[in-house]
């Protein structure tokens, strides 16, 4: 192993025993007593591996429940890995939960001393640092009040100030920046940047991609307890955000499906095969393939009107199944599928939307409208919306 590796996480997994039913609890305890893996368990993390060299900064990103905090707890020594190993070659200072390790009945000053000891500071050094911590935490006279009287912002300030004074080899923070007020957040971010410049190492958990991208060079995306992506912070965080966008689009689509209670409704749309409500990108003169499912409460054949417009609302083209005498494919007792293709789409580069309107069989009343965005890419200096077929007569 290279000398500058500060943290090596290898194949780490965490299984928590199932203990709710009496029989499961007895079995799990028996496994614990014998020191063997739990037979009845929930896998929280599986096969996580990465190394962190001195001076590096890694962000852990992922949804709530992805296993980020559990991984941090194992790195800090709070929880034991069920498999794999965590090797730490230096001091660590964690800021995991609000007010973690503070005794509510003791004053801020007493808690500073105890926390400093827990962070491995020598008793002799602590007294000289107490004043420094009090100033950083901006607590004033409150420092001699019991911590239980502190606001959440004050607790996080005190926690951060103690950790900052410890100057650890590895700083671990879990969403704590979200707690303090704006000015203290800025102060913390500035402190972390200074710490990183001086060669400090950071492991950050945050849902704020701003903080993640500002403070970290690498990122690990955890998804359902597994490493989904690991690498450059921009690459990983963008993949994560794109995934998030798709997920919320899926939720919107599902919400639409369940909310479609009108007589005729658009229940599913796929643009060039993309079923989710995310912008579809296609080059100029490519194929635009629109696939639509329309619900019909009475089972009669509905009409679909399709419009294309620019992002500012300027209409480009509109047509309907009734105008062109198109009969959709019946895919269920009350569901019909319409498919319309625009080959060699001549729209000029820009952002457009396709609007889909579900109408009654008589094409008199409009019941539902769904819009989907698509982006036409290409290099063109032409102006307007669409490239009209044209011919120049030259001299």
């Amino acid at each position: 192993m290279s000398d500058d590796v500060l943290l090596a996480v290898r194949g780490v997994g965490k299984r928590y025993p199932r203990v709710h039913r009496r029989r499961d609890r007895i079995r799990s305890v028996w496994d614990a007593i014998l020191g063997r893996p739990y037979r009845m368990h929930t896998q929280i993390l599986d096969d996580i591996g990465f190394t962190l060299r001195r001076g590096e900064s890694l962000a852990l990103i992922g949804e709530n429940g992805a296993g980020k905090s559990t991984l941090l707890r194992m790195i800090c020594g709070i929880a034991e890995p069920s498999s794999g190993s965590v090797q730490l070659h230096g001091s660590v200072a964690p800021l995991l939960e609000l007010g973690a390790g503070f005794h509510p009945d003791y004053s801020g000053r007493d808690n500073i001393r105890m926390n400093a000891l827990l962070l491995g500071m020598a008793a002799g050094d602590i007294e000289s640092k107490v004043q420094q911590v009090i100033e950083f935490a901006e607590l004033g006279d409150y420092i001699d009040e019991p911590v239980k009287h502190y606001s959440s912002g004050m607790k996080v300030r005190l926690g951060f100030a103690v950790v900052a004074s410890a100057k650890p080899d590895l700083l671990i923070t879990d969403e704590v920046l979200a707690v303090g007020d704006e000015s203290f957040q800025k102060k913390c971010v500035a402190w972390i940047e200074g710490y990183l410049r001086e060669g400090g190492t950071l492991l950050l958990v945050s849902h704020s991609m701003y903080h993640v991208q500002k403070l970290c060079k690498h990122a690990l995306w955890l998804h359902h307890g597994r490493a989904e992506a690991y690498g450059d912070v921009f690459e990983v965080s963008q993949r994560y955000l794109a995934w998030h966008e798709r997920k919320s689009a899926q939720q919107r689509a599902e919400a639409r499906m369940s909310a479609a209670t009108g007589d005729y409704a658009v229940t599913a749309v796929a643009i060039n095969g993309e079923a989710l409500d995310v912008p579809v990108v296609l080059p100029m003169l490519a194929l635009l393939d629109v696939d639509v499912t329309v619900y019909s409460a009475d089972g009669r054949v509905p009409v679909l009107a399709v419009g294309v417009k620019r992002h500012d609302g300027a209409a480009v083209y509109g047509v309907s199944s009734e105008l062109e005498g198109v009969t959709p494919i019946r895919i269920g007792e009350r569901a019909f599928r319409f498919s319309i293709r625009y080959p060699d789409l001549a729209l000029l580069p820009g952002t457009y939307a396709v609007a889909l309107h579900a109408m009654d069989p008589e094409a008199i009343r409009l019941f539902d409208t769904v819009e989907r965005t698509f982006i036409v890419t290409g290099r063109s200096r032409e102006v307007g919306l669409v490239r009209l077929p044209h011919l120049w007569h030259q001299a």
Binding site: Y16, P17, V19, R25, S28, V29, A32, I33, G35, Y38, R73, C76, G77, I78, A79, E80, P94, L96, E97, A100, G101, H103, D105, Y106, R113, M114, L117, L118, G120, M121, A122, A123
Partner: protein, 255 residues
């Protein structure tokens, strides 16, 4: 981590916590034994006219005191140690603190307080002329240390078991009461039926309490009474050392 300083700080906090919210503060360490001795004298001697063997009056108080204080040290240390992990569940889930200390600190904290109190009781009994200083005090000291060691070792086993099954903490007070009644604290074993007395010798606390009495009250070194308890203490400490690491590693899974 600076282990020694952290352990001392935790111990200091434990002692402060026990007296932090009381008006009397640490003075209670001195007041409690005096009060209790007065109560024993009133109840056992005045009201009940108790006799232990051929002991009467002040001898009864001395006999009771030398049995009860070490037992309280043992029972209180064990109770506090056993519930230390469940009582500190939030802390265990939040910070990396050596879990063994979380058990040992309250155990030893309680032992320290009771020991200070016991020393005072012995001083008072000596002033009353009820003790016989001599080599027996050394065996008494050994017996007392074994009591504390037993409490610490048992705590290290029971505290994680109490995390696994909370029934342990619920049952402990009843078990301790039963155990106390099977220990010759309120009776003299020599006054029992011989076969019963033999059975009671299997209780390690019997030998320890009797060695304490023989040592402090009569200056006699009851080495023979210490062998059995010494072996049991040794086995218990070894068992605790073997299992504590494995048990403590898993407690976070059950908290």
């Amino acid at each position: 981590m600076n282990s020694r300083q952290l352990a001392l700080a935790l111990l200091g906090r434990e002692l402060r916590e026990r007296y932090l919210s009381t008006l009397g503060g640490l003075a209670w360490v001195l007041i409690t034994p005096v009060l209790l001795l007065a109560i024993y004298a009133f109840v056992f001697v005045e009201l009940l006219g108790a006799r232990f063997g051929n002991r009467v009056g002040g001898d009864v108080i001395a006999f009771l005191a030398i049995g009860m204080w070490p037992w309280h040290a043992f029972a209180d240390s064990l109770s506090r140690g056993t519930t230390a992990l469940t009582g500190n569940a939030a802390l265990i889930g939040q910070i990396a603190i050596p879990r063994g200390w979380l058990v040992l600190v309250p155990t030893l904290g309680a032992a320290l307080i009771h020991t200070a109190s016991f020393v005072l009781v012995v001083v008072m009994l000596t002033l009353m002329g009820k003790t016989v200083p001599g080599v027996g005090w050394l065996t008494a000291l050994a017996a007392y240390l074994m009591i504390v060691l037993n409490a610490a070792a048992l705590s290290m086993v029971l505290a994680p078991l109490n995390v696994f099954f909370r029934d342990v903490g619920t049952l402990l007070p009843q078990i301790l009461t039963f155990w106390m009644l099977l220990t010759p604290i309120f009776f003299d074993r020599s006054t029992l039926r011989p076969d019963l007395g033999k059975w009671l010798a299997l209780n390690p606390m019997t030998g320890l309490v009797e060695a304490l009495r023989a040592g402090i009250l009569h200056g006699e070194a009851h080495l023979s009474a210490l062998w059995g308890p010494a072996i049991i203490t040794g086995l218990l400490v070894a068992f605790a050392a073997l299992t504590a690491r494995r048990f403590l590693a898993r407690i976070e899974d059950f908290l």
